[in-house]
């Protein structure tokens, strides 16, 4: 194992939309207007924040009642150093705050300078954001009660304002991606314009890209093999619509499963330097590499696959993909 296993950052993010439904929507509408609403259960108690269905008897809930804007810290934890995605300027305490008139606590931040200013049972009050949109962050956080704020809402009729029906919930996940040992070797080889696969010791099947494990035998592969950069098209797709994730590809373009000579399975690549309509099952192709001075540790070194002009490969069993290998297993082929 000459080189290190590769690693690279991978960020997945998407601006999801969350439909609120009537109960949570009313709660968020209230926040936008500067009031806090709970929902009354059949036993008369009030849940805030409200739930749509009663945890005890599963009955639907809907009677919204206004609760106070001050309350008591039921429990708390110091949040530690500020984290990048938190909507605060400074470290905060996370607290369960039971608002006056509510029977359940709400999790939110208490904006104090340090844990020494926090205690269970302390009284806190809402600090509202000036610009509110119908989101839980309309509450900046809670501050120790000072008797000044109180409700900002001048008796807004929530039925006469536009109701919140959805919220944007952008999600961003930061991963550290590692392709693992087998794929790392493959990517290093790519830098030298080599394509490697690995062989299953039980069946002789050769997998490209290498996997480290044989899906046929369920065992580690036993041998790394060099493969030529020529093979055939075992099937293909012609994409005729633009794909958001690949703005560089201009439809129509042909993506195909390419089976290299000596490989047991195909892998997907672009067919280039020919009309998509001229691509055929069994068409012989060879890799088109990036110029030598642009080669990287990356599968993107192969720009695509172009026709070789050789006679088409005859695909013996058109239902089956690739080649079953010399020592076939029951599962691998019949």
């Amino acid at each position: 194992m000459p080189e290190e296993v590769l690693q690279a950052p991978l960020v997945l993010e998407y601006p999801f939309t969350r439909t609120t439904g009537p109960v949570v929507g009313r709660f968020l509408t209230g926040l936008r207007e500067g009031v806090v609403l709970g929902v009354r259960r059949s036993d008369g108690t009030v849940m805030c924040p409200p739930l749509e269905y009663d945890p005890a008897d599963a009955l639907p809930l809907g009677e919204m009642v206004e609760v106070g804007q001050s309350g008591e810290v039921v429990s708390w934890s110091w949040g530690g150093p500020r984290r990048e995605q938190q909507p605060f300027d400074q470290p905060v305490a996370w607290a369960l705050v039971q608002l006056d008139g509510a029977d359940t606590p709400m999790l939110h931040a208490v904006l104090v300078d340090g844990p020494e200013q926090m205690s269970t049972g302390m009284r806190v009050q809402i600090e509202w954001r000036d610009e509110r949109e119908g989101h839980i962050t309309d509450i900046c956080g809670f501050v120790p009660e000072n008797g000044e704020a109180g409700s900002q809402a001048a008796a807004v009729d929530l039925d006469s304002v536009e109701a919140v029906q959805s919220v944007r919930t952008p999600i961003r996940l930061n991963y550290s991606y590692t392709p693992g040992r087998a794929l790392s070797e493959y990517l290093y080889a790519m830098r030298e314009k080599r394509i490697i696969g690995d062989r299953c010791g039980d069946t002789g099947q050769v997998f490209v890209p290498p996997r480290g494990v044989s899906p046929v035998a369920g065992k580690a592969t036993t041998e790394t093999v060099d493969l030529p950069d020529v093979g055939y098209v075992e099937s293909f797709n012609i994409t005729r619509v633009p794909i958001a994730t690949r703005p560089d590809l201009h439809p129509p373009y042909c993506s195909a499963w390419i089976v290299l000579d000596g490989a047991s399975v195909g892998f997907m690549g672009l067919v280039v330097n020919c009309e998509p309509e001229s691509v055929r099952l069994g068409m012989r192709v060879r890799a088109v590499w990036k110029p030598d001075d642009e080669l990287e540790i990356s599968a993107t070194n192969i720009l695509g696959w172009e026709p070789t002009g050789e006679p088409d490969e005859v695909i013996a069993d058109i239902e089956r993909i690739g080649r079953a290998g010399t020592q076939q297993t029951q599962r691998g082929a019949s």
Binding site: L6, L10, Y14, F16, T17, R18, T19, T20, G21, P22, V23, L51, E52, Y53, P55, D57, A58, P60, T169, I171, Y177, P179, T203, P215, V216, E234, S235, F236, N237, I238, T239, R240, V241, I243, A244, T245, R246, Y253, S255, A256, W257, S264, V265, G269, L270, L281, I297, S298, A299, T300, I318, E319, R320, I321, G322, R323, A324, Q328, R331, G332
Partner: protein, 386 residues
């Protein structure tokens, strides 16, 4: 002691639509679940356990939604379980729910599957970037079109078979009030002329993107016998999976599909599949999968499935093996729910509750789902007779 006989006594569905902006995810599930309980003449307290399923969390961006949904589904203080097998999940979820009754772990189980696709973009979720490479794949259509192309080459099927399937399923959907697509004015010519997206797949040969949920109430033999209403008895339920790529893999008719079918038909004691099954609900997100699955499931000989389509055998109006009378996945695709809809629609057929899309006199029906790279399979057979 054999398996406990298991009955479907209630089915509930939402109207499938591109956006259900009026309800939360919890509200959407609740709608289907309440309808299932109502048709089963049950209340929330009658349910012993809830088994739910949906497709990947990335499809909506709610991680582990089963936790957030506990109170909406009356699960507080009860067992809750989530199943996940990609697109086949709705079917697998029903199989797991049935196994809980069959094994006598629980007497009455609520099972539910859903997707609220409008909250995200499944195409994005299926095409996540990966370092060190660039993907040329283009969502599910880009993945499955080469497989369909292999089937077309293998079977010498006429080019427009897929269009026949799409048109037929959209016609069926007009008789199902829950179907997402109700294309009253659609003509066969319009299907043929719709643009190619992933050649050979036309726009009209693909499924829509839907919000929706589907639920069922399953109960034991005593519960089924006592139920004051129609019942579908589970005659067989099976699941299989396989690796999605190995040398010699049959992509058109995966081994796991054939094994799963053999198992479920054996459980039900069915020998002549085409003759003994009265209605089929199979997972056909792209039109050509109807003839492909007809062959893989043993309803037609290899290479001849398209002839059933061409002959009209799979139409509700006069066919001897009506397929997807509900309109199928081609007319409603709330991904996680799609498999369970197939299972539930099969149950509705033998219960005689399928309304306008009822197959006259249906006694035995087949429900089917597949997922991933055609590598997860779930199937069940339900019968009017115990």
């Amino acid at each position: 002691m054999g398996k406990e006989r298991t009955a479907v006594i209630g089915v509930g569905q939402t109207k499938y639509a591109s956006t259900r902006g009026d309800v939360s995810m919890a509200g959407l599930l609740r709608e289907a679940a309440q309808r299932a309980l109502d048709s089963a003449h049950k209340t929330w307290s009658d349910v012993d356990a809830v088994v739910m399923g949906k497709a990947p969390d990335f499809f909506e961006g709610v991680m582990m939604p089963e936790i957030y949904l506990a109170e909406a589904l009356g699960c507080v203080g009860k067992p809750i379980m989530r199943v996940h097998t990609a697109g086949s999940v709705g079917g697998s979820t029903a199989c797991v729910a049935a196994s809980m009754v069959q094994s006598r772990v629980h007497s009455t189980v609520l099972t539910i599957a859903w997707e609220k696709q409008s909250e995200s973009n499944a195409m994005w979720a299926l095409s996540l970037p990966q370092p060190f490479t660039t993907s040329v794949n283009a969502g599910a259509g880009g993945y499955f079109s080469p497989i369909m192309r292999r089937y077309m080459a293998m079977s010498d099927a006429p080019e427009l078979i897929g269009c026949l399937v799409a048109f037929k399923d959209r016609q069926h959907a007009l008789k199902n009030p829950y179907a997402h697509l109700h294309q009253h004015d659609l003509t066969f010519e319009q299907v043929v002329e719709s643009p190619m997206l992933w050649d050979p797949i036309r726009y009209s040969e693909t499924c829509p993107s839907s919000d929706g949920a589907c639920a069922m109430v399953l109960t034991d033999e005593a519960g089924g016998d006592a139920h004051d209403g129609p019942v579908a008895w589970v005659a067989g339920a099976a699941m299989r999976s396989e690796s999605n790529s190995y040398g010699g893999r049959n992509m058109v008719s995966p081994a796991a599909s054939e094994q799963c079918a053999d198992d479920v038909f054996a459980q039900a004691g069915i020998h002549d599949r085409r003759a003994e099954i009265d209605a089929v609900e199979m997972y056909v997100p792209f039109s050509w999968y109807e003839p492909m699955w007809l062959e893989s499931l043993g309803f037609a000989e290899k290479g001849k499935g398209w002839q059933l389509v061409e002959s009209g055998a799979t139409t509700l109006d006069g066919g001897d093996l009506p397929v997807n009378c509900s309109g199928g996945v081609l007319s409603s695709n709330a991904i996680g729910a799609s498999g369970m809809i197939r299972f539930a629609e099969a149950a509705l057929q033998v219960m005689g509750e399928a309304g306008e899309h009822q197959v006259d006199g249906a006694r035995t029906a087949f429900g089917h789902a597949y997922g991933g790279g055609a590598q997860y399979f779930a199937m069940w057979i339900v019968s009017k007779d115990k």
